[in-house]
């Protein structure tokens, strides 16, 4: 691979980061989660797209 075109990949990374940040904000506000909170922090930060989706769909208890 000669060089990475950041103009192409950048928006994708930005969107994934946005998703993780929204997840972390929501996690900070949440009173109860399924499973320990620190685990969700790890999943949100390192879990990429699927980690964030997992948190938003099954991680939250209230709502």
């Amino acid at each position: 691979m000669d060089e990475i075109k950041w103009g192409l990949i950048g928006p994708l990374l930005a969107l994934q980061a946005l998703l993780a940040v929204i997840g972390l904000i929501s996690l900070g506000k949440a009173e109860r989660t399924r499973g320990p909170k620190w685990l969700w922090v790890i999943i949100l930060i390192f879990g990429n797209l699927l980690g964030s989706v997992a948190y938003f769909t099954v991680g939250r208890k209230d709502n």
């Binding site: 192409l8 994708l12 929204i22 939250r60």
Partner: protein, 256 residues
């Protein structure tokens, strides 16, 4: 009607507070732009993964923009549908905890108003997510592969959205008498069963809503192939789901 508007407003406020109005569209955009990106970088990805037989990459031909766009829409049939269905599964079943029941006790509200308001809120999320996702995918496809027909794209995205709306409406119906996870499971199962039956007997079951996905792909790649049957039956299915859910909802019979 005013009740319904108020309830719809409450639903939208709730999906904003739970960030659903943001995260679902963002996930759809990511899914959408990933398809043209991975297609574009496929030779590099294959090279990086090693052990590619020599000469194989010379034969690699970049698929046309319309084909890639149709594949991008196809992405929404799996993870996209799962997300939407998981989002709707608790909408009626979870009402006991979220306080609508008290509102119902205090004020006479028709069950149909509750169900339609919830359905309309889900539709709003779906349209936003699919619209933004398809736009993102189309933008990347245009940049990387070449021009697209935007009228074909609009028609294809609309047909795909109708199929997703069928799954959402079915799950809404199931959530009127089952707990959330069971409703989601049944909703996905019903959609999968419809697709399977359609792929086994495509000529006999061409009128079912399951053929909307194939129709959408054909609309995108060839610009034709529209048929009223599946659209009509999808409409009937959706209306029937909303009506049946309204009938099932009685003041004290909401599942926990």
């Amino acid at each position: 009607m005013r009740n319904m508007w108020t309830l719809y407003h409450k639903e939208m406020l709730e999906s904003l507070r739970s960030y659903k109005l943001i995260w679902v569209p963002v996930v759809f955009i990511i899914l959408g732009i990933m398809q043209p990106l991975t297609t574009y970088y496929m030779p590099e990805i294959l090279k990086a993964s090693g052990n590619v037989p020599p000469g194989m990459l010379e034969g690699y031909e970049m698929p046309g923009s319309a084909v890639v766009m149709a594949q991008a829409l196809g992405q929404y049939g799996t993870i996209g549908m799962l997300i939407l269905v998981l989002g709707v599964m608790n909408s009626l079943a979870g009402e006991r905890s979220s306080g609508t029941v008290e509102m119902l006790m205090a004020k006479p509200v028709a069950p149909a108003a509750i169900v339609s308001a919830k359905w309309a809120a889900q539709l709003t999320v779906l349209v936003m997510a699919l619209g933004l996702g398809a736009a993102g995918a189309a933008y990347y496809t245009e940049q990387l592969m070449g021009p697209l027909s935007w009228s074909n794209l609009a028609a294809a995205a609309g047909l795909y959205g109708l199929w997703l709306l069928c799954a959402v409406s079915l799950t809404l119906l199931f959530s009127a008498w089952l707990r959330g996870p069971a409703a989601a499971f049944l909703g996905l199962l019903a959609a999968a069963a419809m697709s399977l039956a359609h792929s086994l007997l495509p000529s006999q079951l061409g009128w079912t809503p399951a053929s909307l996905t194939a129709m959408s792909a054909e609309m995108m790649t060839e610009g034709g192939g529209f048929a009223w049957g599946p659209v009509l039956f999808a409409g009937i299915l959706i209306v029937a789901c909303v009506a049946a859910a309204s009938l099932l909802i009685r003041r004290n019979q909401l599942p926990e």
